[in-house]
Symmetry: C2
Subunit: 146 residues, 2 copies
DNA sequence: ATAATAGTTGACAAAAATAGTCAGGTATGA
DNA sequence: TCATACCTGACTATTTTTGTCAACTATTAT
């Protein structure tokens, strides 16, 4: 029941990009320096986020990444789903297994009730938090310090 | 963000034990046959559940396992915590890291807000479901079939 | 007693996932 | 045309998962 570093690093990277002016791209090098994550690993993560349409890249000098939607339109669930592959705690409740999520144990599988509830709880939680929320919190913390 | 088979198998085993009369022990062999899980692996899981006080063992012929508390007093969270080690999606929000869960990133770590909320959502969900609930559901399903 | 049943324990091992690294490539602006 | 910075795929070490196996201990029926 662990999230991998992909999600935690990915969220930190996305937050770093979101905190900048909309027109200013954030380079991997900047993120690496600020967050202490290796450049090569960040490349992998941001590439994935770009292919899933969460960020856009700007090449050349002064290049980097910008959000492809407004911070209020990007949820933590979007980021986690992209980087972990999916968000489901047990594969039998993944939508891939049909709309009624039938696994090999059939419809009378009682434990599946639990995993469905859990999947819903996780989904609801992560979908309720946007990058805008986190930016606001970051600004609040910064202000409190000064 | 995956639960291991330890949790899914473990819950099925616990449910099998809970479905039997309180005074009748359920052997690993029975569970293995009914659930299609290997005897050797079940031994590992039930041992852990016993050491954490969720089941008691009865040795010798007609032996097996019984619940050490009433089904209404055992939650899915108990089982998952025992078998996965803990229930926290990110180690930085584990209580081991102090009451305020300080990680190396300190108190001003904004992403931590997310992981705390997630940990709470998961915990609340799994703590709200008891073995009694699942037994009731199993009986309901069985009745519907006949 | 003793044989059969059934839990106890620790060590071992294959397979998969994680957490990166690395080399070489492409696009862009000064 | 050079420096910056993204792009891509392949590769690898480590850790976790998912078990297996062998030998042992306790209990009951005969």
């Amino acid at each position: 029941m662990k999230l991998s570093t992909k999600s935690t690093y990915g969220l930190r990277a996305m937050l770093a990009i979101a905190m900048k002016d909309k027109n200013t791209a954030t380079s991997i090098n900047d993120i690496s320096g600020a967050e202490g994550i290796s450049v090569a690993y960040l490349e992998q993560l941001l590439n994935r986020l770009r292919r899933h349409g969460l960020v856009e890249s700007v090449r050349g000098p002064k290049g980097g990444y910008i959000l492809s939607r407004r911070p209020s339109e990007i949820t933590v669930a979007d980021i986690v789903k992209t980087l972990e592959g999916n968000i489901y705690p047990v594969h039998c409740v993944s939508p891939k297994n049909g709309p009624l999520s039938a696994c090999s144990r059939g419809a009378s599988c009682v434990p599946k009730i639990v995993w469905h509830k859990l999947a819903r709880a996780i989904s609801d939680c992560l979908e309720s938090i946007t990058l805008e929320d986190l930016c606001a919190e970051a600004i609040r913390i910064k202000r409190r310090k000064s």
